[in-house]
Amino acid sequence: MRDELRTFRYAAWLGWQMEANWTQPWFFLIYTVAKPIAGTLILVVMYLVVQSSVLNDPTFFAYMYVGNAFYMYVAQVLFGIVMVIHEDREHYQTLKQIYIAPISFYTYIIGRATCKIVLTTIAIFITLVFGVQALDLSLDLGQVDWGLLAISMLLGLLCICMIGIALAGISFLTARHGMGINEGIAGMFYLFCGVVFPITVLPGWGQAVGHVIPITYWLEIVRRALLPGMDISSVSGLQDYSSTEIFVLLAVSSALFLVLSIGIFRYADHLARKKGKLDMTTTY
């Protein structure tokens, strides 16, 4: 256990160095804040182009805004994990040394991802504050179900990390295609998980895919916890499920993804070792 904690601690420290030691703290703060706010504003402007005002459909706006804010965890953690593999392998060329070290590679990946989680939490907080202050987002801190939020965050982040581990395994085998992997994988969740629109808008097969992915339930339960005064479920189409049922679906689908992810990672790891890809360079 001590070894795991030590690995986690130093991986997290390394993740922090990689993220932050390239610039002054004030610029790093701007960087951490500006990017997510700009991403959110794209959706806000798209909303306003159609609806003219937030107040025209505050429930849908809240659905979209909160979903997009928390989706940052998915995008940033997955991106961060893919970059860990590709950068360690091709840029710093340290992957093979870390790989053969007597540490748990899962712990190492999660440690490196931890910094992303912390920074994204700050970004989400700022995004939500911005939404409340500048965009009339109907989020009342006094009404938030903190207990439900906390437990769903824990499970959701664990699930995201598990998906990240599967992606890390796949990254062992893929070339460094720049931002393509991040954009692609995150895009898949963006489409099927009801991030900015309800999955009921998708065709039947798309909805079926969404119902299998834990992120769908995680976002639903986060919305219910943060916006208990709003009828979010009428937008998401999950009104037939109670919060407990949603939570159980999240837990079950997360467990399935846990098994799947570890399986994918182990198989990809085996293939990478068999094909000698752990220290390949693919930049072109």
Binding site: T282, T283, Y284
Partner: protein
């Protein structure tokens, strides 16, 4: 005589590091290398060799002083220098892993505007010279470190430069490969006109074998510059002795004995090998007394001719590396 390299009062200073002040990587370096010369630059790690090469290769500006390469100023006329130079570094990881050896070499040849057919001819010829023809179509990411270094050397010569900078070119190569490369370098300079090589190396034997002249650099300053023979003669007034003993305490005290101008030792498997540069032969007796007083057994004593390594130790005060 036409000079391939002319450096006058060359100084390079790197900016202030936190709490440490500026770093003077090169200080008042005056050095000329004639066209057709195979010139060696020796120095410990951090001496300024690579900094010097980067300035000559137009990758770094001098802070002060004047530097000309092939008659052109490195600051004002870099574009006139570049078509005529190339550089190979030890342990280079340049190129693209996805491409084959031949493709990588072709790509770099195109950056010098070499017509396709001519590039192919040179590449095939050089791959054969360095024994890489069976790896010509292997992807770079599949070849060994030594093979990759050979490829790097081919990359440097395939553009047929007038001046080439070789920064530890035989690093990571086996004995046969190193010999092949040294022979090629020698042949390239000696059997063609107008070709010059500036070589840095940690292998004294390599410098001794290859170089017409050698400069020894340490902490950014040139300590000596002459032919290897003259440099060796310069330490002849010192006697070189090699002493082997069993291990004993207080070995570092030997360096401080009167008459000992240079000392280095290595210990392995119950045996200590020591090499002394002595101002007078009689000092050896004091050394033996010192050793036996510490209950060590003298296993062998021999007197040797000074090598470049001895020159280096005497000038720099320590062994290379």
């Amino acid at each position: 005589m036409v000079q391939a390299i002319e450096a006058k009062a060359l100084t390079r200073v790197f900016g202030n590091k936190k709490g440490k002040g500026p770093l003077i990587a090169l200080e008042n370096v005056d050095l000329n290398v004639a066209e057709g010369e195979l010139f060696g630059l020796l120095g410990p790690n951090g001496a300024g060799k690579t900094t010097f090469i980067k300035i000559l290769a137009t990758l770094l500006l001098p802070s002060f002083g004047e530097v000309k390469v092939l008659g052109h100023d490195v600051v004002l006329e870099a574009q006139k220098i570049r078509p005529r130079i190339n550089m190979v570094s030890g342990g280079e990881t340049s190129g693209y892993g996805l491409l084959t050896v031949k493709e990588n070499l072709w790509m770099f040849s195109q950056f010098y505007g070499i017509p396709g057919k001519e590039a192919k001819r040179r590449i095939d010829e050089m791959l054969a010279t360095f024994g890489l023809e069976d790896k010509a179509n292997a992807k770079v990411r599949t070849i060994s470190t030594g093979q990759r270094q050979k490829m790097n050397v081919v990359r440097g010569f395939v553009t047929d430069p007038d001046l080439i900078f070789l920064d530890e070119p035989t690093l990571g190569l086996d004995v046969n490969a190193s010999i092949a490369i040294r022979n090629y370098i020698r042949h390239w300079v000696k059997d063609t006109t107008g070709k010059t090589v500036l070589l840095t190396t940690h292998y004294m034997a390599e410098a001794d074998f290859l170089c017409d002249r050698v400069a020894i650099i340490d902490q950014g300053r040139i300590l000596a510059c002459d032919t290897p023979a003259n440099l060796r003669r310069s330490v002849r007034r010192a006697s070189i002795f090699t002493l082997a003993t069993t291990p004993f305490d207080g070995i570092t005290g030997l360096g401080g004995l009167p008459g000992v101008s240079g000392f280095e030792s290595t210990t392995s498997e119950g045996r200590v090998e020591m090499r002394f540069s002595l101002e007078d032969e009689s000092v050896i007796a004091d050394i033996v007394s010192f050793v036996t007083a510490r209950r060590a057994k003298v296993l062998s004593v021999s007197k040797g001719e000074p090598t470049l390594e001895d020159v280096f130790i005497q000038l720099v005060g320590r062994a290379l590396g």
